[in-house]
């Protein structure tokens, strides 16, 4: 199974993501940025699903740390956020996220499609 690392502080969102992803992917989950960053070397994920509004270090800062490491510079990272204003997609893509998915999940095929597309770029 291909590996997804989730960083999301809300338990309900983690539960929902597990329900949608667990059958198809090996999922590990963390509730804050520092723990997620520390887990990168251990879990060796092929893609990251990263909440933006995390306590302490927010998702944009977590992404900055990921991109600063040559090992993970090209690791696909999806912004997973309830920030859904009209210019937010462009804003987060400009920060360096590979895609942007809004919460709550209404159509799971959007999330699954995004993950599949980005994983296609990463050799299994």
């Amino acid at each position: 199974m291909r590996r997804i690392l989730i960083v999301e502080d809300n338990a309900d969102n983690r539960m929902l993501l597990r329900a949608v992803l667990d059958d198809s992917y090996a999922v590990t989950e963390y509730t804050n940025g520092p723990d997620g960053l520390a887990a990168l070397a251990v879990d060796d994920p092929e893609i990251v699903l990263l909440d933006i509004s995390l306590p302490g270090m927010d998702g944009v800062e977590v992404l900055r740390h990921i991109r600063a490491n040559p090992l993970w510079r090209h690791l696909p990272v999806i912004a997973f956020t309830a920030h859904a204003m009209s210019n937010d997609r462009e804003k987060y893509l400009a920060h360096g996220f590979d895609d942007y998915i809004t919460k709550p999940i209404v159509d799971e095929t959007i999330l699954l499609g995004s993950i599949a597309r980005l994983l296609d770029r990463v050799p299994a």
Partner: protein
């Protein structure tokens, strides 16, 4: 008057109409069952009913302390959970509290949030009654 949702991403599921019917959206809860069966729906319901009042109470406390950023942070956190649980009015109020510029009357908005959450909880008990324990 400017619609509170007019700046939302048109592809976003947080696009919530202000023309309300019921206090809750049955489709949202049925969607949870599709994602993870009855177990997921019941677990998420339990979690939401437990966490939402705590979040709202923290917003009241933040208001009393004059901490606008904390009020908006609470609204942001509650918004996606409420949307996920079909509590559309709660989610819409959270959206307004989080993003409205100039800011809304927080005292009034938080009272409305209390009322809408109570209405949702009542709706939930009717629409998805908890079966008696064996």
């Amino acid at each position: 008057m400017k619609d509170a949702n007019s700046n939302l991403d048109s592809s976003s599921p947080m696009m919530i109409t202000t023309a309300y019917g019921e206090a809750g959206d049955r489709n949202a809860l049925e969607r949870l069952e599709r994602f993870g069966g009855l177990k997921l729906r019941e677990e998420l319901t339990r979690l939401f009913l437990q966490e939402a009042p705590t979040r709202i109470a923290s917003a009241h406390a933040a208001y009393a302390a004059g901490d606008t950023a904390q009020i908006r942070a609470m609204a942001h956190a509650l918004k996606s959970s409420a949307g996920q649980m079909g509590a559309a009015r709660v989610a819409s109020l959270c959206e307004q509290i989080e993003t409205q510029d100039p800011p809304p009357d927080f005292a009034k908005a938080l009272c409305e949030l209390d009322e809408e959450f109570s209405r949702y909880r009542s709706w939930l008990q009717t629409a998805f009654p908890t079966p008696p324990s064996p």
